[in-house]
């Protein structure tokens, strides 16, 4: 089976090359067949790998020695184990669906750009597969940066629009900030352990001091913050919605942004041994969850709402990681992948139908025109809101329960976030699908359900969103029914052994679940009621609403605090320091010579008398030097 693993990234790579090089000659259908087929093939092999892992456990395949430097070795190796295979399935599975969806969604593009799009998408899958399959942090980093690149390329896919390009650049640069942290962590590991391979690192954790571990984990977490859009590095993600919607679904919801979760889950032993970092992770996650949720409450762009929702959900996952619920976090990654991909695809379907209108205030009543989209979207909303028995309920509940055992405060804040989630999701739902149509007449005329390539993925994902939760049935429902937990057990066993896990009483757990669910239902009803028959308000928002609508002015704050000062500094360097300062000194030396030249020339007065006078004085000076040599020497030696 080892060799099989190689095929998983190989297919997307081939797809990338073929589509990239042949984008001018291949027809659109050929391109989509190649693009989708490559991912489908990967998916098929991933499934085979899954079963293989299930029976035989994880394996490591070394391809060749990537870097063999003086003090360390970095093999180019893949590790297929329980954790990575789960991610493989998510990536290739959902990836395939989104590819399929894209083949219709992007059909208006010219063949050349169509080919480019699929090439990028395949390249993305390839990078993402590298990220999760890598057997060491360096390979993970390669994938890590690779997905960043693809994200950049895809956000700026419509490169004629400068705003999109800025968004793309912002995404890349902010990711790089995180990447720096990641890189430093890798250096730290290499420095201390001489290896970055998971097996070596985790086996030798005991050789690291607790300070080292804390630092490494924090640095890794910085990397995760960037990639997974956590405070303070989250602002790129909403802007990344500039890309085509399937891209948002694939990259900025289902896969890439969960790379941070994967990385921390992968390094769970390190984190478990660094409680301080864990607390940090939990707090940042929770803060992000709440913060993004508040912003999502007041967004009017359909994709922006989903984007902040993603940020918020990612926050939950980090909360889960922070409280040691690694399985829960991975579980939530999975369910979130289902329903968030579904939401985005649904949104894409809507946007497609609305001819690239994204403002939900100008939608409404779409359920009549787009039944499949409507139903699937509703299911997804229920899933994300956490209504049992939809998938989101299970995963979110697992995280929150774990959070309660750590600190009840986490739980309460988390629940507050969940309520907000329910509210804004159903606000979105109500504004889009309920009530009457608020767009232009022309738009109304063109409203239609999407083609099968788009609806099929919606349906599949809807099924997954609805039923996916049953992979992880909590203990209280049925003992030993958490199949995901069992599957992942080898990965987290060490952490589980190290960490003391309290268990809540069954009744308390029931109570919490019931209470929360009830509250969520009430919130949903409120939201639907309030926004069902929405009329655009003339008055501007004020107070907190305005603050929320403007995303707490964080972008502006960053501009004022970091971007602008840096730009000003750069300008100062460029125009003042470089020109007048350093180059000024260099040229000044030249000018000094010139000045000296003009002055010294005056000594050459042309008068014999003056010449001889200087000669006479020089002789006097010679004699004086002769008699004061020691003083002069002393003076000179003082100078130098």
């Amino acid at each position: 089976m080892n060799k099989l693993a190689l095929l998983v990234p190989l297919f997307p790579l081939i797809g990338f090359l073929v589509n990239g090089l042949g984008r001018k000659s291949l027809s659109k259908s050929a391109i989509s067949v190649i693009g989708c087929g490559a991912i489908l093939a990967s998916f098929a092999i991933s499934v085979m790998l899954f079963f293989d892992v299930k029976t035989n456990g994880g394996t490591v395949t070394t391809l060749f020695s990537f870097i063999s430097a003086d003090s360390f070795q970095v093999p180019f190796a893949f590790q297929i184990d329980q954790l990575s295979v789960i991610f493989l399935l998510i990536i290739t599975g959902i990836g395939f669906l989104i590819h399929l969806y894209s083949s219709a969604y992007m059909h208006e593009e010219e063949p050349q750009h169509f080919g480019r799009y699929f090439a990028y998408l395949n390249l993305f899958v390839f990078s993402m597969l590298l990220l999760v399959m890598g057997a060491n942090y360096v390979i993970m980093f390669i994938g890590w940066e690779g997905v960043g690149l693809c994200s950049y390329l895809l956000i700026g896919f419509w490169f004629k629009n400068d705003n999109y390009n800025y968004a793309a650049k912002k995404a890349f640069v902010m990711n790089r900030i995180g990447d720096l942290g990641f890189l430093l962590a890798v250096f730290w590991l290499l420095f201390k352990l001489g290896s970055a391979s998971y097996s070596d690192v985790f086996a030798n954790v005991s050789n690291l001091s607790s300070g080292d571990i804390t630092a490494i984990t924090i640095l890794l977490f910085v990397g995760a913050m960037g990639k997974s859009a956590q405070i303070p590095l989250y602002t790129w993600l909403p802007d990344a919605m500039a890309g085509p919607t399937p891209v948002s679904a694939l990259i900025h919801a289902a896969t890439m942004v969960t790379a941070g979760i994967y990385m921390i889950a992968r390094s769970n032993i390190l984190y478990t041994m660094a409680p301080a970092t864990q607390t940090l992770v939990a707090i940042v996650g929770l803060a992000t969850a709440i913060f993004a949720a508040t912003i999502a409450l007041k967004q009017n762009d359909i994709k922006k709402v989903l984007a902040y929702s993603t940020v918020s959900q990612l926050g939950y996952m980090f909360l889960g990681l922070g409280v040691g619920a690694y399985t829960g976090a991975v579980f939530h990654v999975m369910t979130h992948a289902f329903f968030k991909a579904l939401l985005f695809l649904g949104a894409g379907s809507v946007i497609h139908a609305m001819h690239h209108e994204q403002d939900i205030r100008r939608m409404g009543g779409l359920r009549r025109y787009m039944p499949i989209t409507h139903i699937t979207f509703l299911l997804a909303c229920l899933a994300i809101a956490g209504i049992p028995p939809f998938s989101g309920f299970f995963s979110k509940d697992e995280i929150l329960t774990a959070a309660y055992t750590q600190n009840p405060l986490y739980y309460y804040i988390g629940v507050a976030g969940a309520l907000m989630t329910a509210f804004y999701m159903f606000r979105l739902y109500a504004l889009t699908f309920l009530g009457g149509f608020r767009g232009t007449h022309e738009q109304e005329h063109h409203l239609h359900e999407s083609p099968w390539q788009m609806t099929l993925p919606l349906i599949v994902l809807a099924v997954l969103s609805t039923l996916g939760g049953f992979l992880g049935i909590p203990e209280v429902f049925a003992a030993d029914a958490h199949s995901l937990d069992h599957f992942l057990q080898p990965i987290f066993a060490e952490s589980t052994r190290l960490a003391e896990h309290q268990h809540l009483g069954t009744s308390q757990e029931w109570l919490m679940m019931g209470g929360t669910t009830l509250a969520i239902v009430i919130v949903i009803l409120l939201a639907v009621r309030r926004y069902r028959n929405y009329r655009a308000a003339e008055t501007e928002n004020t107070g907190v609403s305005k603050l929320l609508e403007h995303k707490w002015y964080v972008d502006e704050l960053y501009d004022a605090l970091i971007v602008n000062p840096l730009n000003a500094l750069a300008g100062f360097f460029k125009n003042i320091v470089e020109k007048s300062g350093i180059d000024g000194l260099v040229n000044g030396a030249g000018r000094l010579v010139g000045y000296g030249s003009r002055q010294l020339r005056l000594l050459q007065s042309g008068q014999v008398g003056n010449y001889i006078l200087v000669m006479v004085l020089a002789m006097v000076v010679f004699i004086l030097i002769w008699f004061n040599d020691q003083n002069i020497m002393r003076f000179i030696s003082k100078i130098f």
Binding site: F72, G156, N165, F187, A570, F573
Partner: protein
């Protein structure tokens, strides 16, 4: 014999080149010469036994200087880089018309001879000779075929570097008189013990020359102007190979000769280098000119190299050497793109460019690949070098690595800025009628891009080449 051939082929063909009047003949002659050199270099690096790579003959017996040429791993790598670069440059600029083509190509070949000499010299005086031999043709090239402000700018460049090399000569002299056997040979220099105070003075004399050449902040101000004003073929030589002379020289002639001084001054130099990285990166962000941007970007990259050298860390040094090769490839690729744009559109200003991705997709893709290499994206060649260098820097000092790392972020910012301003957005008046790459340029860029990626995926051969030099340098 190989190094002798590597030097003498361009030298002789260069001298012949002065008498060629026809543009096509001169071009063909130069290309032929450089291709033969490349063949010899490849043969030498990969196929010949070690003793073929060394050469020793009497030169100035009464001065203690011999005509010693040698190729160790680093020498091989840089000779190979030089040998690859020149045909690449010639092909990429094949269509550029120069007045006095014979002299142009002749001077180019002479500078190649000088550069190869620098990389192979095993004798300090010989090293100094080649060091200047490489400089003087470049001075004439820049001054004769450069931009509007060429005379003043290249003159500044010349005097600046000349001061540096004279100071180095002083240092060489000083060390020479303290060698046990009064010899200029590298081995004698390596085995010289100097008293600490004098050693530090001599160290700075050497370092200043190298720092100006590399250039290390704050000795860099000649560089953007010179790059901007030089004809692009020369700029490629300057930034692709010539700056490596400085880096090379530090590794070959500074660290092993002044082990103590270079340890004790490591902090200062690393701090300067790191400041330079950030400083140059920040300036690059605000540039509106492709050439100047690449120039500042190059300063930042070189800053990392010089910082990594002075960590005295084997990993870092390996990284530096790998990066010397890789940076050469990448920056030449970037210059080719810059030259194409300038030749085609007559401007280098970002404010006048835009939307080239629509008009010139091939250029767009290749520029993006080169740009990604410039920001050291993994699986491009630059990543490996930077990874190793940062690693070395990290082992030296965590905070230095962290601060230097900021330049990685800034690099992404300015490089993508460049990509965006050139390729994306809507077309402007200048770019509305732009065409795509000419075939010769395109194929050369494809070749470079392939090198970028292949060396990014499988860098081990380069690292292996570096190993013996590292051992020799740090082994003293």
């Amino acid at each position: 014999m190989i190094p002798v051939l590597l030097i003498s082929i361009p030298l002789v063909t260069g001298l012949v080149g002065f008498f060629l009047k026809e543009g096509a003949t001169a071009r063909g002659w130069a290309l032929l010469s450089s291709l033969i050199t490349l063949a010899v270099a490849i043969a030498g690096v990969f196929f010949y036994p070690r003793h073929q790579l060394n050469f020793d003959a009497a030169w100035l017996p009464d001065l203690g200087s011999r005509l010693t040429l040698q190729m160790d791993g680093m020498g091989k790598m840089l000779c190979l880089l030089t040998a690859i670069s020149f045909p690449v440059i010639f092909i990429a600029t094949y269509k550029n018309n120069y007045k006095n083509p014979g002299s142009f190509y002749a001077l180019m070949l002479l500078s190649q001879a000088g550069l190869t000499g620098v990389f192979t010299a095993g004798d300090a005086l010989l090293f100094y000779f080649f060091w200047e031999l490489a400089l003087i043709p470049v001075y004439f090239l820049c001054s004769l075929w450069g931009g509007e402000k060429r005379i003043a700018v290249t003159f500044k460049f010349f005097i600046y570097t000349f001061i540096g090399s004279l100071l180095m000569l002083t240092g060489i002299l000083y060390v020479y008189f303290h060698t046990p056997d009064h010899s200029f040979s590298m081995q004698s220099f390596y085995h010289t013990q100097l008293e600490p105070g004098k050693a530090s003075l001599a160290f700075w004399l050497f370092f200043l020359a190298f720092a100006i050449k590399m250039p290390v902040f704050p000795f860099h101000t000649w560089q953007p102007d010179t790059y901007e004003q030089s004809p692009t073929a020369v700029t490629m030589v300057l930034s692709g190979i010539m700056v490596k002379m400085g880096v090379f020289a530090v590794i070959r002639w500074l660290l092993p000769v002044f082990p103590d001084a270079s340890t004790s001054f490591a902090d200062i130099i690393i701090i300067l280098s790191v400041i330079g990285m950030l400083y140059a990166s920040l300036i690059a962000i605000r540039q509106d000119d492709i050439k100047r941007l690449i120039a500042y970007s190059s300063i930042a990259h070189i800053g990392l190299m010089s910082a990594a050298i002075f960590t005295h860390n084997a990993t870092g040094l390996e990284g530096v050497m790998v990066q010397m090769f890789n940076h050469g490839i990448n920056v030449i690729g970037l210059w080719i793109v810059a030259d194409t744009i300038e030749q085609q559109l007559g401007t280098r200003k970002f404010s006048e460019l835009g939307g080239l991705a629509q008009k010139a997709p091939a250029l767009a893709i290749l520029l993006v690949v080169m740009a990604l290499a410039n920001i050291a994206l993994p699986l491009t060649n630059a990543f490996v070098g930077e990874f190793l260098m940062f690693n070395g820097l990290f082992q030296y000092n965590l905070w230095m690595a962290a601060i230097a790392g900021i330049s990685v972020i800034l690099a992404a910012a300015y490089t993508l800025n460049m990509v965006q301003k050139i390729l994306y957005g809507s077309t402007t008046a200048v770019t509305a009628n732009a065409g795509d790459l000419r075939p010769n340029v395109q194929w050369i860029l494809v070749l470079l891009a392939l090198l970028v990626i292949v060396l990014g995926i499988y860098p081990q051969p380069l690292i292996d080449l570096a190993k013996d030099t590292v051992a020799a340098v740090l082994g003293k």
